[in-house]
Structures are given as structure tokens and as C-alpha cells.
């Protein structure tokens, strides 16, 4: 028997050898690039038409050249501390931030929550946490398991209580993401038929006890990104194709597409007076849109794959694979704080006292930092005892 590493090498070489040269790849890629650019331009034009003043601000900020990097931030760039430290609402998980940059291995059943680690019990092999939110009684998690998907509550000891699942049912799938309202009374999740894509998606809204409140059938495949008493924000994606996010008005039952050419809701705060959502596409472009007028672009920035709104919605933190951090005002898109650290940031969460927690893929852990500190904002790192496979409790 051939040793496995030798066999693997031979197998890969044999498989690769079956692929010959292809012509026209450059032209096809150039066409695809033009389509992406055209979508971006259309979105920008829409923004200018709707809100010229804000668009001018966005354009002036959007080039990247005007960005100022400081390390450590100067005193003038230190953020003012928040005046209150009230408990934070729990909304959608930052695990929605650019799916694909997150490292969750097949054994990822550990929640890291700032000061403590919670290991989930009673899960089968190949289980992993896909989406996570902190709730009063512990955590809400969407899990992928070897034989299906599960939405469950987890208490602080790691005990799992299932709310909904499709384990063992090969005909049904549940998107491995959910949304929970700020007051924790409403949870939205989606399921679809594995045997017929034409059947589309059924979005379910349940209360905290698991009682079904509403359902909505949609053509196409969607997953919820944010929910409150009046709306559900839904993201969508069909492999390489871009599909617009959708807003479902729960009271009227109507749905409307957010036709900006962006496929993913990165973070959304419909609970705020003038709800905000950050939309992104595969190129990490960001648009801030008002929930009350979803097709009106109010701002746009690019190249930062991770975003999170601050608890009061006045700021949005962004970061990227190069360790560039920025805090932007959601009112005028001013960069109010920036820094650079050698990190590969994939997700953020704000804490009640104004700290930020970031998943650092390069260091394989979690970094707790304080953009309000005048010196050494990144002084504290909680990376040592965190396993490779981790996820982040959101707005704990």
C-alpha cells in the first residue's frame, strides 16, 4: 500500500494533468471585472441622485488616498468615551461578516466570550457553530452537524436546548444563520427544500420560546440578517451570482429588493431610530443604507471586509486583512479613529464599555482593544488560551 502522503501527491498530480490549457480566460475575466465595476458605478450613481451632499462626502472619503493611518493614535484621534455603559442589545451576529474569511473547523464547538470559554455538550461529530449571539439566558447558536442543521439555545454551562432542526431529514435544509431582535423576543431563520431549488425559501419568525409567529415563502434562496418587530432583512447568494438583499415588511407582508448590486447584509441595526445596514459584496465594497429607505444609498466605502456598528449606531468599526482599523461616524462618514496592527481581522464586536473585540485570523485568537485609550489601545490580547477554532460572542 502506498503511503498516504505519497499517494495524495500522485493523485493530485494525476488529476491536475487531466486539465489542459483554456483559451479566452483573460477576456472572460475582463468581462466579469467590467460587470462588477459597472454594478459599483450604478450603485454610486444611485447614491448621488438620492443624496448628493452625502455622496460628495463619500466620494471624498472613498479614494483611500485621503485615509490617515496612525499608530498609536494621537490624542486628538482618541474617541470620546461613551457616556453610558448600559447592557447592549443583541442583534445579528458578526459571523455574517464576509462569509468565507472565518475559520471554523469541524470541531468548532467552543464559544469564547471575553473572560470565559464555553464548550458545547451533546453534539455529534463534525458539528460546528456557524452563527452565534449572546442572549440573557446564554447564547443562541446555529449549528451544522453531520446530518443536518440545528438552531439551539446554549446555557452558560454549555448545555444545548434545540429550538429547530433538520437533523436526519435529507429533504430539508436550514441556512446556518439566523437573526434575533434587540429585545430578544423575535428570532428569524430560513429553511428550504434540498430536493427542489424551485421551492425557494421559507423564512420563519419565532418567539423566544420557539412558538411560530409568521412565515414567508420567497422565490430564491435567502437567509435572515436582521429582524425586529416590523422588518426582516434577508441576504442572498447563488454561488458566483449576485442577488440583491430583500426587506420583508412583516406588517404588510410586502417584500422589496435592495437593488444596489450587493449581496450580503454585513451588519444591520433596524432597532435604531433611523436603522442602518451595511451591505457588502464579494469585493468587500460597503454601503450604508437607511432601513426606512432601503434603496437610498447614504454612504459608501470599499476594501474593508469586517464591520460592526457601535451599540448606539453612531459609529461603525471596520477592519481588514492588513490590520487597518477605522472607526467612521455614521452621520457624516468622517474617519474618527484609525490604527494599524499586524492582524488579519475577520469580525468585530463592540462591548458595553466601548471596547472592541476582534477575531484575528493571523494570530489565531481574539484581540480585545480600546479605541478610547490615548495610549496602547491594543495592549491587552486574549489570544493565549483560545483554540484555533473559535467564534465570537456578539455584543456581550
Amino acid at each position: 500500500v502506498t503511503p498516504v502522503d505519497e499517494l495524495l501527491e500522485q493523485t493530485l498530480a494525476s488529476a491536475a494533468a487531466t486539465i489542459g490549457p483554456r483559451s479566452g480566460l483573460a477576456d472572460q475575466a475582463l468581462d466579469a471585472a467590467r460587470r462588477i465595476r459597472s454594478r459599483r458605478r450604478s450603485a454610486a450613481v444611485a447614491g448621488v441622485a438620492v443624496c448628493a451632499v452625502v455622496a460628495v462626502v463619500a466620494v471624498s472619503l472613498g479614494g483611500g488616498a485621503s485615509r490617515v493611518k496612525t499608530q498609536p493614535p494621537t490624542a486628538s484621534s482618541v474617541l470620546p468615551r461613551p457616556s453610558t455603559t448600559t447592557p447592549l442589545p443583541v442583534v445579528a451576529s458578526t459571523m455574517d461578516v464576509l462569509a468565507g474569511l472565518h475559520v471554523l473547523s469541524a470541531s468548532a464547538t467552543t464559544i469564547y466570550d471575553g473572560s470565559r470559554t464555553v464548550r458545547l455538550h451533546a453534539l455529534g461529530p463534525k458539528s460546528e457553530i456557524d452563527t452565534l449571539a449572546r442572549i440573557k439566558s446564554g447564547y443562541l447558536v446555529a449549528l451544522s452537524t453531520a446530518d443536518g442543521s440545528t438552531l439551539a439555545r446554549v446555557d452558560s454551562t454549555g448545555k444545548v436546548r434545540v429550538i429547530a432542526n433538520t437533523r436526519g431529514d435529507e429533504r430539508l435544509g436550514v441556512f446556518n444563520r439566523f437573526a434575533i431582535s434587540a429585545d430578544e423576543t423575535t428570532i428569524a431563520y430560513a429553511r428550504w427544500s434540498m430536493t427542489s431549488h424551485a421551492a425557494g425559501t421559507t423564512v420563519r419568525v419565532i418567539d423566544a420560546s420557539g412558538r411560530l409567529l409568521q412565515t414567508k415563502r420567497l422565490a430564491g434562496l435567502y437567509w435572515p440578517s436582521a429582524v425586529d418587530a416590523s422588518q426582516v432583512w434577508l441576504s442572498s447568494g447563488e454561488g458566483p451570482a449576485v442577488v440583491a438583499p430583500m426587506v420583508w415588511d412583516r406588517r404588510s407582508g410586502r417584500t422589496s429588493l435592495v437593488e444596489l448590486g450587493h449581496e450580503t447584509v454585513l451588519d444591520a441595526r433596524p432597532d435604531l431610530a433611523h436603522g442602518l445596514a451595511a451591505l457588502g459584496d464579494a469585493q468587500c465594497a460597503l454601503m450604508l443604507v437607511r432601513v426606512e429607505a432601503p434603496n437610498h444609498v447614504t454612504a459608501r466605502r470599499c476594501d474593508q471586509p469586517a464591520y460592526a456598528f457601535s451599540p448606539d449606531g453612531s459609529l461603525v468599526m471596520s477592519g481588514d486583512a492588513n490590520g487597518d482599523f477605522e472607526v467612521l461616524s455614521t452621520q457624516d462618514l468622517r474617519v474618527v479613529w484609525s490604527a494599524r496592527e499586524p492582524m488579519y481581522v475577520s469580525a468585530f464586536s463592540w462591548t458595553a464599555d466601548g471596547h472592541c473585540v476582534a477575531v484575528d485570523l493571523q494570530g489565531g485568537g481574539v484581540v480585545d482593544f480600546d479605541p478610547h485609550a490615548a495610549r496602547n489601545p491594543f495592549a491587552f490580547r486574549a489570544t493565549d488560551n483560545v483554540p484555533d477554532s473559535l467564534t465570537l460572542a456578539v455584543r456581550s
Binding site: 486539465i19 468565507g100 454561488g239 486583512a321
Partner: protein, 173 residues
């Protein structure tokens, strides 16, 4: 045609076969591989002016392929249509026993979790170091080591199980 387009076209002409092969090994499916490469090349073209080290363009494309593939996989993994036998390359080698082993390894490789498969492809086909794989996968070298070790262990266990089953069936006959 702009200088940027010319440079991009020349790069694609020179490296697209190798990149398509990598995409095929990552996805296990030629149609998906072509989609993946096209998406990665389009993203690369849009970022062309920001790539400071033109010697590292291939690594940039590979990295985009890896992250995009994981992203697609996360969305689509529960929607995969199971088939009785995975599509397989037409040539596995001349010797029947060797060909059977490679065929099994290819089939089992397709069943591995996406990041384990990615780590193994980059290591055994791309011949990259752990540090280079870590950069392309956006994780630590320790994580790469873990994914590769788990992937190899799983392959080894499944191959041994299949060999034992074959031997038992041979004995019965």
C-alpha cells in the same frame, strides 16, 4: 488596450493553466473550477493597481481563489446534490492497482471538510510551506498544520478501512 489589460492578459496566458489546475483540485469539479478562476481573475484585475509586488500576482490570485471557494462552499454546502460517484479524471495511471488507489484517494479527498482539503492541495500540489499556506488561507501556521494533519489522518483511516473491506470481500470470494 491599456497597459494594465495587456499585462493582465499576458499574466493569464502564462499562468492560467496552473491556476485552473489548482482551482480544479480545490473544487473537484471542472465547471466550478472555471467559475472560481474567472471570479478570482476578475477580482485580481480590479485590484491590479494595488498589487505592489507584481511577482506575487499568482499568490494573490490563489489567495482570492481560496477565500472565494470557502465562501461559496459555506453557502452551498447544504445544497450540494449527492451523486453516486464523483466525476473523475479520465486517467489515473497505467497500473490498475495504482489507479484504483488514486481513484479512492480522489473520492475521499472530495469528502473532506473544505479547509482540510485546501490545506492538503496547497501543500501537496502547490508545494507551499506552512507559512505560505497560512497566508493564503488567512489563518495561522498552527491551524494549517492542524487542518493538514486531520485531513491526512482522515484519508489514511478511510483508505485503510476500504482496503480492509476489499480484503474481506476478496477472502469471501
Amino acid at each position: 488596450v491599456s497597459g494594465r489589460e495587456e499585462a493582465f492578459t499576458a499574466f493569464v496566458a502564462a499562468r492560467s493553466t496552473a491556476l485552473l489546475r489548482t482551482a480544479f483540485l480545490l473544487t473537484g469539479d471542472l465547471a466550478q473550477a472555471e467559475d472560481l478562476l474567472q471570479t478570482a481573475l476578475a477580482k485580481t484585475y480590479l485590484a491590479w493597481d494595488r498589487i505592489k509586488d507584481m511577482g506575487a500576482v499568482e499568490a494573490y490570485v490563489r489567495r482570492v481563489m481560496v477565500t472565494t471557494h470557502v465562501s461559496w462552499w459555506r453557502r452551498l454546502r447544504n445544497r450540494e446534490v449527492p451523486v453516486a460517484e464523483p466525476p473523475e479524471p479520465s486517467t489515473w495511471g497505467d497500473e490498475p492497482e495504482l489507479a484504483a488507489e488514486r481513484e479512492s484517494a480522489w473520492r475521499l479527498l472530495a469528502e473532506l471538510p473544505v479547509r482540510q482539503r485546501t490545506a492538503l492541495v496547497l501543500r501537496y500540489w502547490g508545494e507551499l510551506s506552512e507559512a505560505e499556506i497560512a497566508r493564503e488561507m488567512g489563518c495561522s501556521p498552527g491551524t494549517v498544520k492542524t487542518h493538514a494533519a486531520r485531513g491526512l489522518a482522515a484519508l489514511r483511516a478511510r483508505l485503510e478501512a476500504e482496503a480492509a473491506l476489499d480484503a474481506a470481500e476478496g477472502g469471501k470470494r
